[in-house]
Amino acid sequence: MSGKGDTSMASNAGRPKKPRVAVFKFASCDGCQLSLLDCEDELLSVASAIEIAYFPEASSDMREGPYDVSLVEGSITTPHDVERIQFVRQQSAVVVTIGACATAGGIQSLRNWGNHEEFLKCVYASPEYISSLATSTPISAHIPVDFELRGCPINRHQLLEVIIALAAGRKPRIPNHSVCLDCKIRGTVCVEVAQGIPCLGPVTHSGCGAICPDFNRGCYGCFGPVMQANCDGLVDHYQSVGHTSEVLLPLLRNFNAAAPQFAAVSDRLSSADARESEGSQHV
């Protein structure tokens, strides 16, 4: 990474050369990398702060590596992905994964709980032409990742902060608290306490600005589990007030289904369900 310890990125004197940035895509919907292009007001400043060397979605001018920073979107779902992510790592001084797919496996990680072969047969007329893995896994399961930016999609202001920080040679300031703190800061009344709506906010990483509760809905956990998330405590409480796994399982098995903290508690719920239905069959 360039510019070690130098935070005066706007000063030309002694300024490190602009970091060369690449954007790579794996299994994803492209929404996260597009949020870079959504930075309309800031795009010119971004372009002057960094050199966008490889960004197929934005430009056909695709320059070869190595790159100072690679932004990686998407999860690993094919044997080819497994090889290509190694190439990305080799070419990149810093790897930043962006979005729920890259950081947790994405919505497509629901396949991890299903029958991959069956899915292929249902969807494709000639499944023998398809080469894909039985699982969708985050980038960090394959290579060391330097920074993970969460969200489905990511928050473009946070992406800008990561880019500014990397260009300035400092740690990105991405808050690690729960969504609840954002609700309280914006004055949103707790939808769980005041309306009994099951909400993942208490265990979900900040980043969206608490949009869903502000629109009278529970948090869907788009930004994945917060640091040291007590998902068992939350689910135990929701079950004690009458929410069943019919509601809780889909809530947990969503964009961040395969994030370890969410997956552990959803597995606990589904195996308890399985035991229960087994028990009722015996009766």
């Binding site: 935070t7 005066s8 990125m9 706007a10 800031e42 400043s45 971004v46 702060a49 800008l160 500014i164 300035a168 300031r173 690690n176 608290h177 729960s178 609840c180 703190l181 309280k184 800061i185 914006r186 004055g187 949103t188 009344v189 707790c190 769980e192 306490v193 005041a194 309306q195 009994g196 909400c199 906010g201 208490p202 265990v203 009278n216 640091m227 040291q228 998330a229 007590n230 068992d232 405590g233 939350l234 135990d236 409480h237 007030v241």
Partner: protein, 383 residues
């Protein structure tokens, strides 16, 4: 009409509230009061008495809050909700300093807050106590907080005595209510058809001269007493404060912290709704070119793992350790630091905890566990 004197109690009919709000607005105040929003009674800027929650009440339990209709048209027939006056005196986000790079050098500035003074309508006794606690924190130490000071010193406080209590209230244990004793400019007690008005300050006395008041009758005074007594009678929750600071200090290794840690989500809700919690973090936020930098202060919480991040890592790296930090600060070391308890007994942390953790119950559990250990110890000594 006689000139109201500080010691007197005056009466005005229900529609006098409209006049009070108008007088405050004419005096340049931004009147903040209770109003219904998002299924709760919150504090926000109000334009007239029409904005107040007429004929509504709040049903509060640990982890639950619901609005219900009353069978009367009371304007203050509820207790405290998710908001507190803290958010106006100690704003959730504020810019404390700014720096601009101009022609190769830095210019530093303190942003002005062009701001109408606040008039708070409907401050409850526990909330007056909370403001006193935050005064101690922000104004009485060696460092005075200028943002808090500016907002606090200009604020006009209209207290309202509670005429009912929620199941989560325990102001009687904390000796902060339910009667508003001092710390307000005007104090109100809502009767069936009007309000009793008490004057609490010179400012209050001056403002009251613009209101249409008349002396009270004995019947009105009796009605006021009865209604205030009703609130006191409805409070059943208790927190035994006797020896509490030491009890917690002596039980830092109680296994009960792990028990509560399994239920606590470390989500920060209790600290955000607490009217006395004052923690914040300060960061420098730069624009893309690094030419303009704001030093921003935001509410933060001891429940955030990184809040205790120091040179070698996170000091309170588990939920039990963070819950313990919060409770022992609030109920124990706050006394050492500020000379009072940090808890005013408003019950917000109980209602607004998503899993319904109740600090009065947790304290009791620690007290009982300590008593058991003590009696076991004594038993061992006898043998």
């Amino acid at each position: 009409m006689n000139q109201p004197a500080t010691s007197d109690v005056w009466y005005f009919p229900k529609d006098g509230l409209t006049e009070l709000i108008r007088v405050l607005q004419e005096d340049g105040f931004d009147v903040i009061g209770p109003t219904v929003d998002q299924g709760a009674i919150v504090y926000a800027s109000i334009q007239s008495a029409e904005d107040l929650p007429k004929g509504l009440t709040d049903i509060q339990e640990a982890g639950s809050y619901r609005l219900e209709k009353r069978n009367d048209e009371s304007l203050f027939g509820y207790v405290v909700g998710p908001h507190s006056w803290k958010k106006f005196l100690f704003p959730p986000i504020s810019v404390v300093a700014a720096a601009d790079r101009i022609e190769g050098h830095w210019e530093f500035s303190t942003p002005e807050e062009p701001q109408r003074p606040f008039a708070f309508l409907g401050v409850r006794a526990c909330e007056l106590a909370a403001i006193r606690v935050q005064d101690q924190v922000f104004l009485k130490g060696p460092y005075v907080d200028p943002i808090y000071q500016r907002r606090r010193e200009s604020a006009f406080l209209i207290a309202v005595n509670c005429t009912q209590a929620a199941s989560t209230c325990f102001c009687t244990s904390m000796k902060t209510g339910p009667r508003c004793q001092s710390g307000y400019d005007l104090g109100l007690t809502e009767l069936k058809d009007g309000f009793l008005l008490e004057i609490g300050s010179e400012r209050g006395q001056q403002l009251s001269r613009s209101l249409s008041l008349r002396p009270t009758t004995a019947a009105e005074m009796a009605e006021g007493d009865l209604r205030r007594q009703q609130a006191a009678d409805q409070i059943h929750r208790t927190l035994e404060t006797d020896g509490l600071p030491n009890l917690l200090k002596q039980n830092l290794r109680s296994s009960h912290w792990d028990d509560v840690g399994r239920r606590c989500l470390s989500c920060t809700n209790c600290t955000m709704v607490c009217p006395t919690c004052f923690c914040s973090s300060v960061t420098e936020v730069a624009d893309l070119n690094g030419d303009h930098i704001n030093r921003e202060r935001r509410w933060d919480s001891c429940f955030n793992p990184e809040f205790s991040y120091m040179h070698s890592g996170i000091a309170r790296d588990s939920i039990p350790s963070r819950y313990r930090q919060w409770m022992t600060h609030k109920l124990s070391s706050w006394h050492d630091q500020f000379g009072t308890s940090g808890c005013v007994g408003c019950g917000r942390c109980i209602t607004w905890c998503p899993t319904g953790i109740d600090l009065t119950v947790e304290v009791l559990a620690i007290r009982e566990a300590a008593a058991t250990v003590e009696s076991v110890d004594r038993g061992t000594n006898h043998e």
